[in-house]
């Protein structure tokens, strides 16, 4: 099992405390169903994420895991069931949607930085326009966050001038600038060259240690073991298995989980 020796694992396993989970439910999905045309992507999804909980979602491609987390901030609309985020129900009410999006940060596979703005402008745009923070204050916060993701010296460059790993760290900082209560990660390292994956995972581990409520779709199993409180395995639009990581990796209950794990952990 090679994931035992990944750097993230070795360095952080002992330091990722798992006792800060609050009782308050931050995200709740009840019987959520979604179709793309005739195709049934999400089937009766039930999920609860509590304050400070770190959930890692894995599963084969096309299993609906990205669609599920994109439903949480309504980048996708669900057609049946209920989604509550921080006590607010997602509905067609634009005000509710905007309120939830302010509280939920999202990091994308393809970074989606704004190419016509500098790094600093990428970070301060939403705080200034959505949260109405004064410009100077927004810039101070942005610089602190750039320090935290270890690239303060890139503040005045444009995204196109940065490496993939640096861009993804800027994207994480951009979400954090809105002081979100929840962070969603949609395969944040899948578009990165191997040598850049660690720098992004390090930032995410740090974030987890600071007690952020996180839902990550990822195939980085080393990262999952280190930070996850709960592992979720999805296949064919269903949640097949939910378990703490130790149990999930050592005694998976479902055959489908076992097959998936054997495939991604084999090499």
């Amino acid at each position: 099992m090679t994931q035992q020796s990944t750097p993230v694992q070795a360095q952080d396993q002992a330091q990722a405390p798992r006792h800060e989970i609050g009782r308050e439910v931050m995200i709740e999905l009840q019987q959520v169903n979604k179709w793309f045309g005739e195709f049934h992507v999400l089937k009766d999804i039930n999920l609860q994420v509590r304050r400070g909980e770190r959930v890692v979602v894995c599963g084969p491609s096309g299993s609906g895991k990205s669609t599920m987390i994109r439903c949480i901030n309504r980048l996708e609309e669900h057609q049946k069931g209920h989604i509550m985020v921080d006590g607010v129900e997602l509905s067609n009410d634009v005000k509710n949607v905007e309120q939830i999006r302010r509280e939920v940060g999202m990091v994308f596979q393809s970074f989606n930085l704004f190419p016509h703005l500098t790094v600093l402008e990428n970070l301060t745009l939403a705080p200034i326009w959505v949260r109405k923070v004064p410009k100077r204050e927004a810039e101070q916060t942005a610089m602190q966050l750039l320090e935290r993701v270890k690239i303060p010296e890139q503040a005045n460059k444009y995204p196109g001038q940065l490496s993939g790993g640096q861009q993804q760290r800027v994207a994480i900082a951009r979400s954090l600038c809105m002081k979100p209560k929840i962070m969603l990660f949609d395969e944040p390292t899948s578009a990165l060259d191997p040598e850049m994956i660690k720098e992004v995972l390090d930032v995410m581990v740090q974030l987890a240690e600071d007690g952020m409520t996180m839902v990550c779709v990822t195939h980085e199993m080393g990262f999952a073991r280190t930070v996850a409180d709960t592992m979720i395995f999805m296949d064919m639009g269903e949640i097949v298995e939910t378990a703490p990581p130790v149990e999930f990796f050592s005694q998976p209950k479902s055959d489908r989980t076992r097959l998936f794990l054997s495939q991604i952990l084999r090499h």
Partner: protein
């Protein structure tokens, strides 16, 4: 891995082979690069040699630069009669505007040019620029119409020449652009009524030639007005021009909007930006810089289209120039006149084109990898 990528000292850089550089290298690479190019170079060289000297001789060396009558121009062997232009320049530039008051359109043209040139500099792209434009346009209106501050009133039926062309083009751009933006956004709206209205408007206008819109505005539209109400002829033409251009601008902008990746919308949404904040801060800045070339092409077209206002009896630059041809003392110098007028149009259109190239380069600085 890193050792493999960067291992060992780098090879010392070498100069390119001599055949690639220097004058001879340039000539070989650009003019005689293969049989076909060599042939083209020789043919083009021959054409230039046979035409340019004669043209220069006519336009400069044998030209008549100043004369009070057309007699010196009619002498055997005389070249271009620029004296005609010199004699008629005020008619060409200002049309039928009262002769003694022509300092007013001159000043108005100056104000417009300063505003346009000033707006080209990105350092001035802020809120105060809009105030300058508002003040500038009011000044232009006061100067052209008069009737206040002791200026005599001049009806806009007497406006003409370059100021009229510039006013029609500038006001046309200033108003058609925002309307075009709204139409482009409307055409992509999720609300069926808004989308349907935008599509119908755009397709209706694009299906009709500009000259028809202008005639409709000047002849047909007044028939629907109640008796006693009349809307100014120039205003009608201007509104017709704006409504016409807006449809084309809308389609150009829509092309840019479609080229902005979906991820940009999603990122803006996920940060909680409202629809208008997203369009203004994220989508439009990216969409518009992609469509600078066609947009400027459209503005150049608009500048030249203003000349169609002749059909409703307004005298823009080209038509004022034609009026100069009717003077019996100066018959037969239409070539000079058209060359001169073409040169003025060319200066404006070429500057716009050059500016758009510079702007494109400037805006892409840094954002390109």
């Amino acid at each position: 891995m890193a050792e493999i990528a960067h291992g060992g000292p780098a090879a010392t850089p070498m100069r390119p082979p001599a055949i690639e550089i220097g004058v001879a290298g340039w000539v070989r690479k650009n003019l005689f690069n293969g049989v076909w190019n060599s042939l083209l170079t020789i043919v083009a060289g021959y054409v230039l040699l046979t035409t340019v000297p004669g043209l220069l001789d006519w336009a400069i060396f044998r030209a008549v630069w100043s004369a009070d009558t057309s007699a010196p121009c009619k002498v055997e062997g005389a070249g271009a009669c620029w004296a005609f232009i010199a004699d008629k320049h005020r008619l060409i530039f200002f049309g039928t505007y009262p002769y003694v008051e022509q300092w007013r359109p001159l000043l108005a043209t100056g104000i417009l040019l300063v505003l346009i040139v000033g707006s080209c500099d990105r350092r001035f792209w802020n809120r105060s620029l809009m105030i300058y434009w508002a003040v500038g346009l009011v000044l232009v209106a006061v100067l052209m119409w008069g009737g206040v501050f002791g200026l005599t009133y001049v009806s806009n039926l007497d406006w003409g020449g370059l100021p009229l062309t510039l006013i029609m083009a500038v006001v046309g751009c200033v108003f058609a652009f925002p309307i075009g933006l709204v139409l482009a956004l409307g055409r992509r709206s999720h609300m069926p009524i808004i989308r349907w209205l935008s599509v119908s408007y755009i397709e209706l206008i694009r299906g009709v030639p500009l000259i028809t819109v202008l005639i409709t505005a000047s002849v047909i539209f007044p028939l629907f007005l109640p008796a006693g109400v009349s809307i100014d002829k120039l205003l009608r033409a201007q509104v017709g021009l704006i409504l016409f251009e807006a449809a084309y601008i809308a389609e150009i902008v829509r092309g840019g909007l479609q080229a902005v990746p979906r991820g940009q919308h999603e990122a803006a949404d996920s940060l909680g930006l409202s629809f208008f904040q997203k369009q203004r801060k994220i989508v439009l800045p990216q969409a518009l810089r992609m469509v600078i070339p066609p947009l400027v092409g459209n503005f150049i077209g608009l500048f030249k289209s203003t000349t169609l206002v002749i059909v409703i009896g307004l005298f823009d630059l080209l038509n004022s120039a034609k009026a100069a041809l009717t003077d019996l003392n100066w018959r037969g110098f239409s070539i000079e006149l058209y060359i001169f007028t073409a040169a003025i149009y060319f200066i404006f259109c070429y500057s716009m084109s050059k500016y758009s190239q510079a702007l494109e380069r400037d805006l892409n600085k840094g954002t390109r990898r």
